[in-house]
């Protein structure tokens, strides 16, 4: 009898743990709660990130991302194409990518240098796609710089200019300026987004992005 009662208690506790664990995993999907952030004053002489889309777009999405971050690659592969095609190309949104290399990520510095050196030749977005889409490959390479050179060649960069840019670490200051801007905004995870004054962390699904954009559009209307 006592054993039967203790077994019932055990199965009860087991069931509760299953429900709590499943709820925890479920609530971890998508991203964090959006928090209102104050605009951070931007020094007009400092690097302002890589921009895609029209200057007249009513809403701007600022993405803070790290090329070595798995969730950033997940967003780049699964969600960013929809954002570009359905929001940026239609003039609703302007996308701004700000480098946010995470301290301690071994290959982030060279990956962000590669992105910026492509950006110098007007090909940042093509290079960013190459870096994110092939993340699982170069991240396991002891010398990923060679792979970035291949990507640079594949997107048609002038390799002499690219090589000298990498060697001189020409954009290290820009990348650090972007990271500092992110820290000032309150970014502490990647990817993070600022949409209409709201900061939200996580590889947001497209539907969440659209909801935040619609909210920003409504606030922008007179």
């Amino acid at each position: 009898m006592a054993q039967s009662v203790s077994m019932k208690l055990f199965y009860g506790a087991f069931g509760v743990l299953v429900v709590v664990g499943a709820a925890w995993i479920w609530s971890s999907r998508g991203g964090s709660e959006a928090v209102e952030v104050d605009p951070v004053p931007v020094d007009p002489t400092s690097f302002a990130g890589w921009v895609l889309g029209s200057d007249s777009a009513p809403v701007e999405i600022v993405e803070y991302a790290d090329f070595e971050c798995g969730a950033c690659a997940h967003f780049a592969i699964l969600t960013a194409p929809d954002v570009r095609q359905r929001l940026v190309a239609t003039g609703r949104v302007r996308l701004r990518f700000r480098d946010f290399p995470i301290q301690g990520h071994r290959y982030s510095p060279i990956a962000h240098q590669a992105g910026a050196c492509a950006g110098e030749q007007g090909r940042f977005w093509e290079m960013a796609d190459q870096i994110f889409f092939n993340q699982s490959t170069w991240i396991q390479d002891r010398r990923p710089a060679r792979q970035f050179e291949d990507y640079a060649r594949a997107i048609g960069l002038n390799m002499d200019q690219y090589d000298s840019c990498i060697k001189e670490r020409r954009h290290a200051g820009d990348i650090e300026a972007s990271r500092q801007h992110g820290l000032a905004v309150g970014v502490n995870a990647t990817p993070s987004f600022v949409i209409g004054g709201l900061l939200v962390a996580g590889a947001l699904p497209y539907d969440s992005i659209v909801r935040l954009v619609e909210r920003a559009e409504a606030r922008a209307r007179p």
């Binding site: 506790a13 743990l17 967003f75 699964l78 301690g104 396991q140 990647t190 990817p191 962390a201 996580g202």
Partner: protein, 144 residues
Amino acid sequence: MAIALLALVGFFISLYLWLWKVGILGAIVCGDGGCETVQLSEYAQFFGVPVAFFGMLEYGALIGISLTGLQPRWLHRRGPTLALVAVSGVGVLFTAYLTYLEAAVIHAWCRWCLASAVVIGLIFVAALAGVWGMRRSESPAPAA
């Protein structure tokens, strides 16, 4: 019973890390970024499979064995208890290796990995206690 509950906790920790690793979870809640450093290192994969997936298999096996051992027909058999010691022993050794890598090679600490290390350690101790209790109950009573 305690082993099944602990293994369930360990399973959810491994599931969380695995889902993040494959990109389904947007952000990992870790505090200082150590989890990302560890999870993105070359040591976070074993034969091309995320280490967290092996954790899920390990804890899944422990849940299965411990629930089997609680069934009436298995309750007084040694098999499940010995299997728990063996499986959790493998887990402890693998976890010790991963913790060494965090400390000496990667130089970053993943808090969820440490939590899992504590869980598998407790399971191993509980399994050993189970064997010890079994041997005591099997030893003949001293002659009067």
